[in-house]
């Protein structure tokens, strides 16, 4: 039986549906954002509904820290309303018969924790909805509705926040509006979150831990950077295979408008976007933006060059290509190259190479 050591969420669940079997066993950390990633129909929403206790037919065990929410073997099931969790549904789920303030009060008044006006005030401030309190839900934009729904969930002082593709019903511009609020949530309150998404962009920006589901089963689970860099699962993300690196802004070159980010395996130059030296950032390096050279390239336009050693070569989605996993002084990188190049350069595990990084996305 899975038990998390540090008070996290431990799940062991089974649910039979007509054309679908959901069967997972996984432990998730007590802190930060755990992203649940997978194609539609992979069981992401089912997982969230089981954790919330909304899927009463599921069998198994669910516990958060010391609190057991479900244990079918002992016929134990804590109803949803006693679980102290927040649930953000995919589509707007505000109560249409109440205004924004009424919606926020609804959760606050029923929270098992002592009602605390400061919590609500903090949630209103955190989500920037102070000016909307007297408005009716039907008069709000999709992004505003989701922010109110998140604040309403926070006001009930949950121990765990569940988010089911909270951005899926929004257009790209609204999505960019909400993502910074979610990042604030992650950085400013110590509330564990389970975040369902099928967007790699959201995973890259938000995930601390990554759980990948496929056909109702766990395909991979671990720290986001490790799962993304593992070549065992290149097809998880298809075209978007790549790695996440955490780094620090080391210096800014104002003449060329560039910043240097140092990470454990070296450093990369990125476009300067007004960061402060010393600021922590996340870097996303896609496998398709990394090419390989066996000798130091002196006349390449690509200035980001890292020394690395090949650790593994694995088949990619298309037979013409492979994914090459590199060890860059302790940090993992992925490079996508053709099989022909692999043979022409005699690349194999153990070969020392130069990784040429054509483009780096800096994500907050």
């Amino acid at each position: 039986m899975t038990r998390s050591a540090n008070g996290g969420l431990s799940l062991q669940l089974r649910l039979e549906r007509e054309s679908f079997t959901f069967d997972i066993e996984v432990a998730l950390p007590a802190r930060g954002i755990s992203c649940v990633f997978g194609a539609s129909g992979s069981g992401k929403t089912t997982l969230l509904r089981c954790v919330a206790g909304l899927e009463t037919e599921a069998e198994g065990r669910v516990s958060l820290g010391e609190t057991v929410w479900q244990d079918s073997a002992r016929r134990w099931l804590v109803p949803t309303w006693q679980r102290r969790l927040g649930y953000i549904f995919q589509e707007a789920s505000l109560f249409e018969h109440l205004d924004v303030q009424g919606n926020l009060d609804y959760g606050l008044r029923r929270s098992n924790a002592p009602a605390d006006a400061a919590t609500l005030a903090a949630a209103i401030e955190l989500l920037g909805i102070g000016s909307l309190l007297r408005r009716r839900p039907e008069g709000l934009s999709g992004g505003e509705r989701q922010r109110v729904a998140i604040a309403r969930a926070l006001a009930s002082q949950p121990r765990l926040l569940l988010l089911d593709e909270p951005l899926a019903s929004l257009d790209a511009a609204r999505r960019r509006d909400i993502l910074p609020w979610l990042e604030r949530l992650r950085d400013e309150i110590a509330l564990p979150m389970l975040y369902v998404t099928h967007s790699m962009e959201e995973v890259a920006r938000l995930a601390d831990h990554l759980l990948v589901l496929e056909n109702g089963r766990v395909k991979a689970s671990g720290p986001a950077g490790e799962v993304l860099a593992s070549v065992e699962n290149p097809s998880i993300v298809g075209e978007e295979a790549g790695v996440l690196l955490s780094g620090q802004i080391a210096l800014r070159d104002e003449l060329w408008q560039l910043s240097r980010v140092d990470f454990p395996g070296g450093s990369l130059w990125v476009r300067d976007q007004g960061w402060q030296a010393g600021q922590m950032v996340r870097l996303r390096v896609l496998a398709r933006d990394v090419s390989l050279a066996v000798s130091e390239p002196r006349d390449s336009s690509i200035q980001n060059q890292l020394r690395a050693v090949i650790t593994a070569v694995i088949a990619d989605d298309h037979p013409s290509q492979v994914l090459v996993r590199l060890d860059c002084s302790g940090s993992a990188l992925l490079a996508r190259v053709t099989r022909r190049a692999l043979q022409a350069l005699s690349l194999a595990p153990g070969t020392a190479v130069w990784a040429l990084v054509k483009s780096v996305a800096v994500i907050g």
Binding site: W81, F95, H97
Partner: protein, 225 residues
């Protein structure tokens, strides 16, 4: 004398309709909730039973109720044993008959409202810490308001307009069971056409007003949803 009896019939009709509407809402709401949400195999038979008064001739319904509530019927024996006397030909009997007769008119709009709402609002309420009963009163009922209003208006007006059931189980006793519809019938039997005209015209105006009110409620609810 005639004016007095008209006033008595109108008052009695309004009393009967108000009391029946109140009871209808109390009885129909849980039935509608159950019908809208249950996966039970009993759903269809119960739905058919509730709808039965819609298609049965009122005299058939009234006849069975008369037999049930009469001194030899099971319900009549029960009420007599409880010291309540026989309910046929009383106002109480009339209320029971009206509630059963108008039940489908109250259940269906409320059921539609609950069905249209879907399971999501109740799930949201549960994740916010609301017990099921709390969520029912704080979320489901307010969201079903247009359905409840429609049910009340339909139940009220349907009771006002009923005739067959009233005649069968109520007879036509002034001040006890004589309502507008039976009063009109009495006038016609007695060839007092001008009084019959007045009361009939009153019913036409009332019915029109009710239907007008209903359609404006519907269009407002439509804008909200």
């Amino acid at each position: 004398m005639s004016e007095e009896s008209v006033l008595g019939a109108v008052t009695l009709t309004l009393q009967l309709a108000s009391l029946s509407t109140l009871l209808l809402l109390i009885i129909a709401t849980p039935i509608a909730w159950w019908l809208a949400r249950t996966p039970s195999m009993w759903r269809s038979p119960v739905a058919a039973l509730v709808t039965l008064p819609l298609v049965l001739p009122p005299t058939v319904l009234g006849f069975y109720l008369l037999v049930l509530m009469g001194p030899d019927g099971p319900l009549g024996r029960l009420t007599e044993a409880l010291g309540l006397g026989v309910l046929s030909f009383t106002f109480t009997g009339l209320v029971i008959g009206s509630v059963i007769f108008s039940l489908p008119f109250a259940v269906q709009p409320i059921q539609r409202a609950f069905e249209g709402m879907g399971p999501r609002p109740m799930e949201v309420a549960a994740t916010l810490g609301a017990r099921p009963l709390d969520a029912f009163f704080s979320v489901a009922l307010p969201q079903a308001r247009p359905g409840l209003i429609t049910a009340a208006v339909l139940g009220f007006s349907h009771t006002v307009g009923e005739f067959g059931v009233v005649l069968m189980i109520g007879g036509n006793i002034p001040g006890e069971t004589r309502v507008i519809s039976t009063q009109i019938y009495g006038y016609v039997e007695a060839m007092r056409y001008s009084e019959a005209h007045w009361l009939s015209a009153l019913m036409v105006v009332f019915s029109f007003a009710v239907l007008f009110l209903l359609s404006s409620i519907r269009s407002r609810a439509g804008r909200l949803l």
